[in-house]
């Protein structure tokens, strides 16, 4: 169906695609995997006409084709669904789908026939989308199906999907895969770009693995496994399971009693939550995103105004409710935030300046003249310690944090928070957008900190992560604790049910 031959693409000094060969057979689901920056999105954007290759050929249905723009690609039956949806929120499904290819005359828009066509497509692939619904009323999963419909409406025979599951809940992922299988049955070809190995194994027929702009492996899905794919992606053996011993649990560090949090609009986001975290254990919180996890962690870290909180937050027997973020840090509470760009980093500041955030005002960083001036040597020392111990790359403290990959930004944050010598660590989505190699490293660090007696509260949307790391697992739903399970024995179905139904 589609073949890329010796595609090369250079951006400035970066060789994004280096003689890439990809062969996609008709009627298959083809996965393209690789770490961030491996060049998989670039290759697919070339196929879709977003970029033109510096050299190489694109073959569609056996014919060499010149694809200069997405227009050309669509004409050849190639459609693409982007990671970030391109939908107009206030318009209906049908209006969005016909946008750019409006039916009817130049004066009259014929939405009726388009609606019928959309309904028929929707039924054919069991997408369950109502053409007259405005986009803003749809869930994320439904919006994604609208994007699929958009491509199908334009008669796409090949669909390129860029990280399609990143925004979906576990249940939605299952539904989504069922749709992809139906499409394959109807003779469509699907390319799915991803870095989640479990999904590759679950859905694809063939896999192309990319690393550093090159194709490093082509395998049949049935002949491979996660370990092999991970090794190809990273270029070395990767430990996928978290290895840890049983927790040696000490006394309670964090005690949360009947905690409720309202947002600025007065809506209750967390509702009467009670739990405790003891030293030497990792307590996980699983839940579909937006069920109060963000507010809970921020409230514990001192980032929510006390007026919006009722109930009690106690740390080592001391009430924290009225204390600010600075004092909580001084008491030994570290925080790895869920959104590192928004909360965790000063993106325009250097790594050195980022490495002291939260400790910038006291010795040894602010030491000279009664603690007014920053000791430049101490700052540099702190930065290079973190860069070395946590393998931050590139190891250049003068670079702005913006220049680092997600995984290296995360390592910098974790390194910084470890320097607090925390007694309690609040950590949210520690491996989101992080490469497999770095995920392994981060998981080992968290377990190591636990073994040193730190109490850890872990929030993650990755079910596998939260079940394999946690010693105890709480499930949150609609701002309430829906249950507690033993992650060693609980099944994913059991947890998934608690996450979605709440009981």
């Amino acid at each position: 169906m589609l073949e890329l031959r010796q595609i090369t693409k250079r951006f400035g000094d970066v060789l994004a695609n280096d003689h890439v060969d990809i062969v996609v057979k008709p009627g298959t689901i083809h996965a393209i995997v690789g770490e961030n920056g491996a060049g998989k999105s670039t290759a697919m954007r070339i196929a879709y006409g977003f970029y033109t290759a510096d050299s190489g050929e694109i073959i569609v249905d056996g014919q060499p084709r010149d694809i200069k723009s997405p227009h050309d690609a669509i004409a050849l039956g190639i459609g693409m669904v982007h990671q970030h949806f391109m939908l107009v929120e206030t318009m209906t499904v049908a209006e969005n789908i016909v946008l750019g290819a409006e039916p009817g005359t130049s004066l009259g828009l014929d939405l009726k026939s388009a609606g019928a066509q959309i309904r028929q497509l929707s039924e054919e692939f069991k997408l369950a989308v109502n053409p007259n619904e405005p986009i803003e009323h749809l869930s994320v999963g439904q919006q994604q199906r609208v994007e699929l419909l958009k491509a199908l409406y334009r008669h796409a025979r090949l669909l390129i999907l860029d990280e399609p599951t990143a925004v979906l809940t576990p249940l939605e992922v299952e539904e989504f895969f069922a749709i992809l299988r139906r499409m394959r049955e109807q003779g469509k070809t699907v390319i799915i770009i991803t870095h989640k190995l479990s999904e590759v194994l679950a859905i694809s027929d063939e896999v192309t693995v990319m690393r550093d702009g090159k194709v490093v492996g082509r395998v049949q899905t049935k002949d491979t496994n996660a370990a092999e794919l991970a090794r190809l992606m990273v270029g070395r053996e990767v430990l996928l399971r978290v290895e840890k011993t049983d927790a040696e649990v000490g006394s309670p560090q964090l005690e949360v009693r009947n905690l409720s949090i309202t947002d600025i609009n007065g809506a209750k986001r967390v509702d009467g939550v009670s739990f405790e975290v003891r030293s030497g254990e990792i307590v996980g919180i699983a839940g579909v995103e937006g069920n109060g996890q963000t507010e809970l962690i921020e409230a514990l870290a001192g980032l929510v105004e006390p007026e919006r909180i009722t109930g009690e937050i106690n740390f080592e027997g001391k009430n924290l409710n009225a204390l600010g973020a600075r004092i909580r840090r001084e008491l030994g509470i570290a925080h790895i935030p869920e959104d590192r760009h928004r909360r965790g980093l000063l993106l325009d500041f250097s790594l050195a300046e980022n490495s002291i955030l939260g400790m910038h005002y006291r010795p040894p960083i602010a030491a000279m003249a009664g603690g007014i001036f920053l000791d430049e040597n101490a700052v540099q020392r702190r930065a290079s310690e973190i860069i070395q111990a946590f393998d931050v790359r590139p190891p250049n403290a003068a670079l702005p944090a913006r220049a680092l990959s997600g995984g290296n930004q995360q390592k910098l944050i974790i390194g910084r928070e470890y320097r607090v010598d925390p007694k309690l660590l609040l950590v949210s989505q520690p491996t989101r957008g992080v490469d497999i190699g770095a995920i392994e490293f981060i998981h080992r660090q968290l377990v190591g900190l636990r073994d040193d007696g730190c109490a850890i509260l872990l929030v993650s949307a990755e079910l596998e992560e939260v079940t394999s790391l946690s010693d105890r697992l709480l499930i949150i739903h609609d701002g309430r604790i829906a249950g507690e399970v033993d992650p060693k024995v609980a099944t994913l179905e059991e947890i998934g049910l608690l996450m979605t139904r709440g009981h």
Binding site: A325, R326, L346, L357, H360
Partner: protein
């Protein structure tokens, strides 16, 4: 490209583009741009008058440029430097009049304190309003400009004017509050040129602002707040405190314009003394890329244009000093367009893939 070259690129483009656009306009009105520009820059750089006056005019622009810079670095847009320097100038004159009998060693520091503290107070008001109620500093600083001018005009008119004086100005301050012109110390520079100690003070402030922002914990907190308030909050920094601190420091710097004008030049508060220093300071900070060294360079350029413009007016056939406004306008336009250029260029860069 080195970091320095990158920093200089857009300001240079802006200045060159401004001179090209200005040149075309001069051609259109029927003059020779080379002749006009030689007159403009030649007179601004002549010794001693050109240089002396250019540095004198640069002094308030350095202060207001620094004031705007400190605000920007905290993510705040201080449009109120004009009002802050008006209030400060009046307060400085008031102290110089009321305590005219004190010796210089007491009176001059007292006048300095008046300029700095009044400016800090007037700048601090919108800071407090923003920190406490979230009301926007742009609106409040603009409104406080009007209030400041009206307030000092009222006090001057009804309480501190010399009876019978047709000009809206206060009485003179005591001679012991005068600060010396640099002509007294520099051979060849006549003492009649008002370039005074305040210029050296402005340069010192550039150094102090640099040290404050980049070498102290307070500066770190201000810059962190300006760069990403959510991350600053996460790092245990009180955003409210930083807003009040930055606006007060900003106001204090604007207020120091009073030292140049009241103690060093006119020796009184004089209505309308500011040639839009507070607003030009915004352009100075932008062209200077919000860095103290850049502010010095930008202030010198704007001051040279301002001074040279007087000569263009006098000696050119068709071109008037309005050409200076054109040049300043185009510079600001291009500096403001930087974001657009970066966006247009950046779309093809690999990290956007």
């Amino acid at each position: 490209m080195s970091k320095l070259a990158r920093e200089l690129l857009f300001p240079l483009i802006a200045v060159v583009a401004a001179f090209i656009v200005g040149g075309v306009l001069i051609l259109l009105v029927g003059d020779n741009p080379i002749v006009a520009y030689r007159l403009l820059l030649g007179s601004a750089l002549s010794w001693p008058d050109g240089i002396g006056y250019t540095l004198f005019h640069a002094t308030p622009l350095i202060f207001t440029g620094l004031a705007v810079l400190v605000g920007f670095r905290c993510g705040l847009f201080n449009i109120g430097a004009e009002g802050q320097l008006y209030i400060a100038a009046f307060a400085t004159a008031w102290v110089g009049i009321i305590f005219a009998n004190l010796t210089s060693w007491l009176l001059i520091p007292l006048c300095f304190a008046a300029a700095i503290l009044t400016g800090a107070f007037w700048g601090g008001i919108p800071g407090v309003l923003k920190a406490k109620f979230g009301s926007h500093e742009v609106i409040n600083t603009i409104m406080l400009n009007f209030i400041a001018v009206a307030l000092v005009s009222y006090f001057t008119q009804y309480h501190y004017k010399v009876p019978g004086d047709p000009i809206l100005q206060t009485a003179e301050i005591g001679p012991s509050a005068y600060i010396p012109h640099l002509g007294r110390f520099i051979p060849g520079l006549p003492e009649r040129i008002p370039l005074n100690i305040a210029f050296l003070l402005a340069l010192l402030c550039c150094l102090l602002v640099y040290v404050f922002l980049w070498r102290t914990k307070w500066g770190y907190e201000i810059r962190a707040t300006g760069s990403n308030p959510f991350a600053a909050e996460y790092g245990g920094i009180s955003i409210r405190k930083q807003i009040i601190l930055a606006m007060s420091v900003s106001g204090a710097l604007a207020g120091m314009v009073a030292i140049n004008e009241v103690l060093g030049n006119r020796h009184r508060y004089y209505d309308g003394f500011s040639d839009n220093y507070g607003f030009t300071g915004i352009a100075v900070a932008l062209l200077g890329r919000n860095h103290p060294v850049g502010v010095i360079l930008a202030a010198l350029l704007f001051a040279a244009l301002q001074h040279g413009g007087i000569y263009v007016d006098g000696f050119s056939e068709h071109v008037t000093k309005d050409i200076v406004q054109v040049l300043q306008g185009v510079i600001i336009l291009f500096v403001a367009a930087e974001g657009f250029f970066k966006w247009a260029l950046g779309r093809r860069l690999p990290w956007n893939v």
